[in-house]
Subunit: 340 residues, 2 copies
């Protein structure tokens, strides 16, 4: 194995070329599967690579060619399963193109996000998929254009000058409201939480529009704590409001989990005593009882679409900005009934 010697000085393309009795240029061509090199030669070079334990040095290659084969992904909260699913979609399609993805967590803080973008530039990433931190200034968009950095916004947007893959949150809200209204509900609350950003606003406005369209009071909008653990204990907020709602539409799956626990704690049976619609179901939605009726957004697919857009954008930086907005699906399960 002679591993000791090997470690001392890494084997380089020149070593391979010598071992195979070809020039370095030829070895390089074999590496990149050029058709210029004959079959016998190719085999000889490939054998040499194996014999010597050659490892391609992407970093060195990148210095000449302007391609690092790395893309960046920045999300606001890694521990949230929703973003984990998003990432798994991104990783899958980026990985399939042979590139690697650098992962970073902005914690929804703009300064941290700035730092991470800078770090990614230093690493020479070929592009970035960004779910912008709440409060990100729209001037970041100009900066990114200025840098010439291929970037796609995902789930939240700060500017329409950049690519964007998101969800038709407003339409999702209409689905939820329409469904509850069809069951006879008139007092429907919206349970929000967390930082304010485009996806937040689109949901709230979608809710308002949908309620107004049905001549219902759009004003029962209640803010819950950010942390899942505290939401259940704040369930009373739902009933402190002057008009007691008979149903609630949740901002996301975190709120839905929290309220479904909190309603249970108050002795209310969901689907019978009170109706609840979740938003964004993630994998474990199936495991909650009663099963939650939910407006599903499909984070894995969104990740995949964002990755594809980024790959396109890298290949063709001149493209006009593209915006793809995914439809939601209402999954009717067991958490809604007629109002009492």
């Amino acid at each position: 194995m002679a591993s000791e010697e090997r470690k001392k000085s890494r084997v380089t393309l020149l070593d391979v070329a010598r071992h195979a009795n070809v020039s370095r240029a030829t070895a390089s061509l074999v590496l990149r599967k050029s058709p210029l090199v004959g079959n016998a030669t190719r085999l000889r070079v490939e054998q040499a690579m194996r014999d010597l334990g050659y490892v391609y040095n992407i970093g060195a290659a990148r210095l000449r060619v302007e391609r690092s084969q790395i893309i960046g992904a920045i999300v606001p909260n890694l521990a949230n399963p929703f973003f984990a699913e998003l990432l798994s979609g991104i990783e899958e399609v980026i990985g399939a193109t042979g590139k690697a993805v650098i992962l970073a967590n902005s914690g929804d803080q703009v300064e941290r996000q700035d730092m991470l973008l800078q770090r990614m530039r230093e690493h020479g990433v070929d592009g970035v998929i960004l779910c912008p931190a709440a409060q990100t200034s729209s001037t970041l968009s100009d900066q990114i254009t200025d840098w010439g950095m291929p970037l796609v916004q995902v789930l939240r947007h700060i500017s329409l000058d950049l690519d964007y893959v998101g969800v038709d949150y407003a339409a999702g809200m209409h689905q939820a409201v329409d469904y509850l209204a069809s069951l006879g509900h008139k007092k429907i609350a919206f349970a929000a939480h967390g930082p304010i950003h485009s996806a937040y606003q689109e949901r709230v406005e979608g809710f308002r529009d949908a309620m107004l369209a049905r001549n219902l009071d759009p004003g029962i909008i209640i803010r819950f704590p950010t942390q899942l653990g505290e939401i259940a204990n704040a369930t009373h907020l739902l009933f402190d409001h002057e008009t007691r709602p008979t149903a609630v539409i949740c901002f996301n799956h975190v709120v839905a989990l929290g309220l479904s626990a909190g309603l249970h704690d108050r002795g209310l049976t969901i689907g019978r005593d009170f109706s609840l619609v979740s938003f964004d179901d993630v994998a474990d939605a199936e495991a909650i009882r009663p099963k939650l009726t939910s407006v599903s957004t499909g984070p894995v697919t969104i990740g995949e679409m964002a990755a594809r857009l980024l790959v396109d954008r890298i290949a063709n930086p001149g493209l006009q900005p593209r915006h793809v907005v995914k439809d939601t699906t209402l999954h009717i399960r067991q958490s809604c009934g007629r109002p009492n």
Copy 2:
């Protein structure tokens, strides 16, 4: 802004040096905050960097120095919230050292894992945190040593020649068994699922040992489907066994979610009609009703510890292999009662 011109040819350290009237060597020293350079000079160079919009090129630097400032993390299942929490711990401490983390998903497939390790070598990562795919051969360990690749195994291990950060699964099983036994349970099932690996075996053996130590039948070990969605429907397996158990200890939080749903579907109230102990609680454990009593393993902390070990190992490759095994905590909540 002159962004157009800038994009054409990136600004290099030499440009900065010229703009600041110093040599390239000096500019390089400023970059790395060497004390060799005087304050006035430093400020001048830093101003030049700002004026020109200089971006440090880590890739170029790496070619000289043997440091890419990138580490790799390979997990078997990105979409599982347990691994998402693990990653968030890793990303946090690696990020704090100024390095970036390349993320990859092996899908628990060894061939894919081999490919990913190879890719990471090509990217010149400084080290890797690996949760080995099930069925990984222990010879991978020799290979890694041969490559001289700093690596820490996390949660699962294939060889004690490498660093390892894991959990004392066996002790966790003892906690669960002891607790159930103290409530009077004698027929306790173990509900397993998924691929077989060290962490799997340690749990099973821990269960057996703990049962034997109390003179209880250690044989009620039942395999459930891998997918969360199918577990609930397989709950009957619990009762198909010749000796009907009064309690179940779950392999992980996925099984616990599935069975807790399935028991509910059978009209059984958990904590009253049947007792259940979960393993690995993740953030949303708090939101399930009844609240699940659980042996908690703390994935975020494990990620942090693994990252610290890797940083140490990179700094000091000569270190003896270290193995840190984290204690579990039994969180008693509401899912267990006396047997009927």
